[in-house]
Amino acid sequence: MLEIDDLAKRYGSVVALDGASFSARPGRIVGFLGPNGSGKTTTMRCIFGLVRPDRGAVRWNDRPIDRETRLRFGYMPEQRGLYPRMRVGEQVSYFAQQHGLPSREADAAGRRWLERMGLGDREKSKLEELSHGNQQRVQLTVALAHDPELLVLDEPFSGLDPLGTATMTEVLQDRAANGVGVVFSSHQLDLVEDVCEDVVIIARGRVVAAGAIDELKARSGRRHLEVEVVGSDGSWLDGDGSLTVLERVGDRVKLLVRDDVDLDQLLARAQGAGEVRTFAYQPPKLSELFMEAVTPVPSPATETTLVEATS
C-alpha cells in the first residue's frame, strides 16, 4: 500500500504542498484530482524522490521508499519525454533494464508490451518518427514494461483521442485487476468517474476529500431529484425550503435536495399536482463533489464530512 503522510513543500513563497495525506491500495485505481497548481505533480515527484519534501513521508508497505522500492514503480510524468532519436524497442528495453530487468527479459517485455499497444511493427522506428498519439503509447509502455507494483501516471488521458482513451482505460483496469496499485491525475472528471473506484481531491496543497467514489457520494448531504409532472404549473414546489430548483425545462424539473428529504411525502405532493412520469433520485456527480470540495470556503457541514473522509 502507498501512503502519503503529511507532505509539505514550499518553493520560496509558494506553498506547493501543505500537509497532504492519503493512501492507495493495491488492485485499486485512484483518481488524483485537484485544480491546476494544487500540488498533484509535486506529490507524484515526491513519490519518485524527484522532489524532497520539507516535511512528511512517503511509504510503501509501511516502509519509507528508497531507490530499490522505486524500481518496482512505474511513472509517467505530466511533461512527457523520451529520447527522440532512440529506437522505440531499445528505448523501452533500456528503461526496463534501468528498473532491474536483465537485458534479454527487458527486450522480451518491451516487445510484448509494444505489441499489446499496437506498436509491434514500430519497434525499429525512432521515437521522433512516430505520431504524437503513438509517442504517448510508448511513454505508457515505458511505465509498464517492468511490470510495476504501483503505477503513478500524471494526466495520462490528456491529449488522447477516443481510441487512445479506450486503450488507456483498458490497460489501467487490467493492471488493477492484476493487483497493481494505480494512481493517476486527471481533469476529466466524467472519465475518472468511469475508470476509478477511489478518488483523492487535493486543493491548495491539502487533501480535501478522499475515499471510494460511492462512499463520498453517499456521505454527501446532497441528492439530485429529477421530476416530470404533466399538467402542473409547478407551484407544488413553492414554499419548500429544503429543495433548490436547478433547472426547469417544460414539465421537467431538476432539483437539489438534502439527503434527509422525505421522498414519500415529496412524491405524494407531486402526484397531487399532476401525472408523474419521471421521479429519479440520484447522488451528486463527481464533478459536483469536486467543485464542492475545492471551493475555498466550504460550509461547516461539508467540512466535517470531508475531514472524516480524509483520515
Partner: protein, 398 residues
C-alpha cells in the same frame, strides 16, 4: 539493482546511440585521414630522397668526379655524377630535368669554369661544385710546386664536427609529444566535455530526464554520461594516436624515442583525468541551462579556466618546466592535466609529484561529482529559464 549496473546502462546507451551516429563515425574517419594525410602528403611532395644529379661536360679534369663525391658526402648530400658529351648535350639535359646542375671546367683547370642550373640555383649543389673545383685547382697548383702529396691529403682532412649539447631526434619528439599532448587534452575537454554538456541539456529539453531520474540517481546518470562519452572520446584518441604514430614511422618523419610508450600512457591518463574533471563541471553547469542557446553562457567559467590552464602550460611550463609556476600548476586540478604530461615529456617531474597530482585531481573529480550531482538534481527539473546555482543546491538532495 546495483548502482554500477545503472551507471553502466547509462554509459552503454550513450556509447551505442552516439557511436552509431553518422557524426561520430565521420569525425573519427575525418581526423584519422587528416592525421595520416598530414604525414603522408608532405613526404610525397617534399621528401625527395633521390640523389641529385650533376652533369659534368667532357672532357673533364682528372679527379673532378671523385672530388664532387667526397665533398657531397661531407655535407650529407647524395649525388650522382654523369658525364655529358658537349655543352649542347648539357643544355638539353638541364632543359629536360635529366640533371640538376651542369659543371663545366676546362680539363687543364685554367679557369674555375661554370656551374649552371635550369632555374633557381640549388645552394647546396652550388657549394659542393664550387668547393670541389677550388680544391682541385689548388691541389693542381700545389702539386706543380712539388708539395708532398701525402701532406696534401692530410691537409684536406675535415675537422671533427661536434656540439656540447646536441639536440637529438628524441628532443624533437619530446617537444612534439608535449605540445600535441596539451592540444589533445584541450580538444578532448572542448569536444567531448561539450558533448556531455549538450547531452545534459538535450535530456532536459526533451523532458526525458524526469523519467530517467525516477529510477536513476542524478549522480549515477551524470557519471554514466561522462563515462560513456569518455569511452567514445578515448576510442577516438587511440585511433588518432595510432594513426599518427603509424604514419610517422612509415613515412620516417622522425624516429620514435624510447620514451614513447611512457609518454602515450601519461597522455592517456591525463586525457582521462582532464576530461572527467572538466566534463563533470560542464555537465552540471549544463543542468542549470534550459536551452542549448544558453549552454555557452553556462559553460563560460569552465572554458575560461581550461584556456588559462592551457596557456599557462604551453608558455610558462615549456619555458621553465621546473619553475615555481610549473610546480604550483602541477598540483592544481584544473591545470594539472595540461602541465603534468608536459613536464613529464621534458623529463622534468619527480614521480612523487605525478602521484600527488593524480591523487589531488581524482579527489577533485570526486568532489565535483558529489557537488555536481546535487546541483544537477536540483536544476534538471526546472525547465523554465536559467536556474541559479544556489537555488539548485537548496532544492536538491538525494
Amino acid at each position: 539493482m546495483s548502482r554500477m549496473r545503472s551507471v553502466w546502462l547509462v554509459a552503454k546507451r550513450e556509447i551505442i546511440e552516439r557511436g552509431r551516429s553518422r557524426g561520430f563515425v565521420f569525425s573519427v574517419l575525418f581526423t584519422t585521414l587528416l592525421v595520416v594525410g598530414s604525414f603522408v602528403v608532405p613526404s610525397l611532395l617534399f621528401d625527395n630522397d633521390d640523389p641529385k644529379v650533376i652533369g659534368v661536360v667532357g672532357p673533364t679534369p682528372p679527379g673532378l668526379e671523385s672530388a664532387l663525391s667526397v665533398t657531397a658526402s661531407r655535407v650529407g648530400q647524395e649525388i650522382r655524377v654523369i658525364e655529358l658529351e658537349s655543352v649542347d648535350a648539357a643544355q638539353a639535359a638541364l632543359d629536360s630535368d635529366a640533371v640538376d646542375a651542369v659543371v663545366n671546367v676546362p680539363p687543364d683547370l685554367s679557369t674555375s669554369g661554370t656551374v649552371q642550373f635550369a632555374e633557381e640555383p640549388d645552394a647546396a649543389l652550388a657549394q659542393i661544385a664550387s668547393a670541389s673545383i677550388v680544391a682541385l685547382r689548388l691541389q693542381d697548383l700545389l702539386l706543380e710546386a712539388n708539395v708532398d702529396p701525402a701532406a696534401l691529403i692530410a691537409a684536406q682532412e675535415a675537422p671533427v664536427v661536434d656540439s656540447l649539447d646536441p639536440e637529438t631526434d628524441v628532443d624533437q619528439a619530446r617537444f612534439l609529444f608535449a605540445n600535441i599532448g596539451a592540444v589533445l587534452v584541450l580538444v578532448g575537454i572542448f569536444s567531448f566535455g561539450f558533448t556531455v554538456l549538450t547531452g545534459v541539456i538535450e535530456e532536459k529539453q526533451s523532458r526525458v530526464v524526469e523519467v530517467v531520474l525516477s529510477t536513476v540517481r542524478p549522480r549515477d546518470l551524470l557519471m554514466g554520461k561522462v563515462l560513456g562519452i569518455g569511452i567514445l572520446g578515448l576510442v577516438q584518441l587511440v585511433v588518432f594516436v595510432v594513426a599518427a604514430l603509424g604514419a610517422a614511422v612509415l613515412t620516417r618523419r622522425f624516429a620514435l624515442p624510447e620514451t614513447t610508450p611512457g609518454a602515450v600512457v601519461m597522455l592517456a591518463v591525463w586525457f582521462i583525468l582532464g576530461y572527467a574533471l572538466y566534463s563533470t563541471a560542464l555537465g552540471f553547469l549544463g543542468a542549470l541551462a534550459s536551452r542549448l542557446e544558453e549552454a555557452s553562457n553556462a559553460s563560460t567559467p569552465v572554458t575560461m579556466i581550461a584556456m588559462i590552464s592551457y596557456f599557462v602550460a604551453i608558455f610558462a611550463v615549456i619555458n621553465d618546466p621546473t619553475g615555481i609556476v610549473a610546480r604550483v600548476a602541477t598540483f592544481l586540478p584544473p591545470s594539472a592535466p595540461f602541465v603534468v604530461p608536459l613536464r613529464a615529456a621534458y623529463d622534468a617531474i619527480e614521480p612523487i609529484e605525478v602521484v600527488i597530482a593524480v591523487v589531488v585531481t581524482v579527489a577533485a573529480i570526486w568532489a565535483l561529482f558529489a557537488v555536481g550531482a546535487r546541483v544537477y538534481a536540483g536544476a534538471v527539473l526546472q525547465t523554465a529559464g536559467r536556474t541559479k546555482l544556489r537555488d539548485a543546491w537548496r532544492s536538491a538532495g538525494e
